[in-house]
Symmetry: C2
Subunit: 410 residues, 2 copies
């Protein structure tokens, strides 16, 4: 644990003016904060960004867990965007910021006169980043979008679920965080370029479009077959695929008591080693299983003989025994398993946010820099950093700030 | 289409020495190429990286579609890493590179004496980036990993599938590309920092760990309930969730003929507008549906009345009609629908790779810079750029290169 506390700090000194809300934008700016940027959320003085109230939190009236998990390591200032004085303040902040991020509904940011044209004119060095549901020029560019709408329209649902069942929504929030991560690639890229050019760029990504980046395996399937890619439970998407390839039931038979087994068609040793682990070395020369093609033809028999063994072991043991034989294996872990895994805590992959209203065990940014993870700091209370940021960024005095607070601007 | 052809070029002048293979590493370096970096794949003279042979391609003997889609816009040189002369060449290249990327099995890169310690000593400015299956310090750090193993062990499968069915593998390749995208955040971050420090950093991500970044919604569920997050088909993960929230069947009833419908509990207008679209304005004041909580209690009735309407429309029409009423709606689109959508081509989200061995319609990087997408260039033929790169990077003459080729080093 000693290394937790060493921040990646790649983006030390970078100021991010963050008008984003919910998850797609905030997951991006949280990543920038984990990389060392000073991320300042600008929030409505009346209740803050809507994510603060989305579901329950550590105690009644506290910020929601949802807000906490996507807003670690940030600062919060309150500004009333319905007042001209408030908008003027945001423009003053934009002059001193390096990055601006927003994910309002289509047209809102332009109506606030905080669009690219205005802010780029005020501060040509500003990297201006936006998430929308659908891309400019899409027939749906004015539609509302949420994670699941992006996943439906972006192709992730069509390839997820049982072969003969309806589409399922992938559990990961690819529509939101999946989009935020792509924006978080573009922003440091634009900052890097600014060293040479002195100018910021407009960086945009649509949630629907972002899904295609993660589903290219399905486009490969489509190119091979000429047909839309199919879903196939936990098995390979390809028709006439691979065996073994999929999840096998383990004891005690709970909803997530499975181990994923796979043997590479390019490495015949995998299958031989697996037969030894499951005590069926007698089948090494059996013609039904001698090649990858033969195993695919006898998939039901392959699955049966492996299940006979996996049912006698719990998933952790099955993974340990198969993995130790240098055959790919993965227990199906749920959030309970992951939170209980000591190595995640030791390595700082899961950390505890020590928030004044209660704690949250949560994953932090999984990319290490010089071996160290990003330490988690609490998500900000609403307006917690108003005085600090307006003093630092705009040189305002305590009494200036009090006046603005009194008139309801902050 | 006029804007296609304007590259983002954020990383112009950045040289990437790419020893990665399959998808997790290549998806990262391809993104760097799309941002303007010169990405040079170093490949085995005998057949190249194994992804070239993974499944079929546009014609027999050609590179696989799989390789094409993850290696657009890169260069290829051949170097025999089993020869000392070859390894010396790679070290010479590392002296002149800005970024090094590898995703070999655990221990391989150190055995090649191309580990962080060696290369950092040779070139302190080098950003050294690695993908492994499991993190250093994990009990499984020496295990093999593939996309589906990372998804099983990283928690994505446990939260995907029907409530009463077994876990499903999300169709998106989060284990591979999901990991590659996080590495692609860290690399420009480290390059940005290098302007100030003059030094590169070691950037590492494990495929299992990366999954947690995309599944934080499940950790929010866990924090709320104290129990492992559940899967729930296309519906909300939360027990006693939201209605409407899910997919509704459309005509003509094919496997992907569904529309996702959702009304925000925070915006009562959504439900009212939806009732109007489906011709049931008579229910606006019905107590069974008057609040989000009431609708959740009467989920089966909500689903039935919406299905009555959706079954009379195809998914595109249903999305158009509901979306136009400012209610969130998303047709479940498959790869066929996406490839057929004109707006993707017009906006450059889907482009055609014009490869000498055949074409591939494929998604490109969905992040726009100043409104323009990254243009797709062909994946390289094996060793296509050997002469060019060894001349440019190492100042070698054509005859030097011929000698190396003759002895089998290239």
């Amino acid at each position: 644990m000693s290394e937790i506390g060493v921040a990646p700090n790649c983006l030390d000194g970078v100021r991010v003016l963050d008008l984003s809300q919910f998850e797609a934008g905030p997951s991006c700016t949280e990543t920038l904060a984990w990389l060392g940027a000073e991320v300042v959320k600008v929030e409505n003085p009346k209740g803050g960004e809507p994510g603060r109230g989305l579901g329950s939190g550590p105690e009644p009236g506290a910020d929601a867990y949802y807000f906490m998990i996507y807003n670690a390591n940030k600062k919060s200032v309150t500004v009333d965007l319905k007042s001209n004085r408030g908008l003027t303040l945001v423009r003053e902040m934009a002059k001193r910021a390096d990055v601006f991020v927003e994910n309002f509904a289509p047209g809102v940011i332009e109506r606030l006169r905080l669009g690219w044209d205005e802010l780029h004119a005020l501060n040509p060095r500003l990297v201006y980043a936006q998430v929308k549901g659908f891309g400019q020029g899409s027939p749906y560019e004015n539609n509302l979008a949420f994670d699941m709408i992006a996943q439906a329209c972006g192709g992730t649902m069509a390839i997820t679920g049982e072969r003969d069942g309806p589409p399922c929504k992938p559990g990961p929030t690819l529509g939101d965080t999946g989009t935020g991560m792509l924006l978080a690639i573009g922003i440091p890229g634009a900052l890097f370029q600014r060293h040479a050019t002195g100018r910021g760029r407009r960086v945009q990504v649509a949630m629907q479009d972002a899904q295609l980046q993660y589903t290219r395996g399905a486009f490969v399937q489509h190119a091979r077959s000429g047909q839309p890619a199919l879903r196939n439970g936990a098995k390979s998407m390809a028709a006439g695929g691979l065996a073994p390839y999929g999840i096998y039931p383990c004891k005690p038979g709970g909803p997530n008591d499975y181990v994923f087994l796979f043997t590479s068609p390019n490495n015949p040793q995998h299958w031989r080693r697996l037969l030894e682990v499951v005590g069926r070395a007698d089948l090494v020369d059996d013609a039904r299983f001698a090649t990858a093609a033969a195993r695919a033809q006898h998939e039901a028999e392959v699955d049966a003989l492996l299940s006979d063994w996996t049912r006698k072991h719990d998933k952790h043991e099955a993974m340990r025994l198969v993995g130790a034989a240098r055959v790919p294996a993965g227990a199906v872990l749920d959030t309970g398993d992951l939170l209980a895994e000591p190595s995640f805590g030791e390595r700082g992959i899961i950390q505890t946010m020590r928030h004044p209203r209660g704690e949250l065990r949560m994953p932090t940014f999984p990319v290490r820099f010089d071996g160290a993870p990003s330490p988690v700091a609490p998500s900000p209370l609403l307006g917690e950093h108003t005085t600090q940021v307006f003093t630092d960024w705009l040189g305002m005095s305590a009494s200036d700030i009090e006046v603005l607070r009194g008139e309801g601007t902050l």
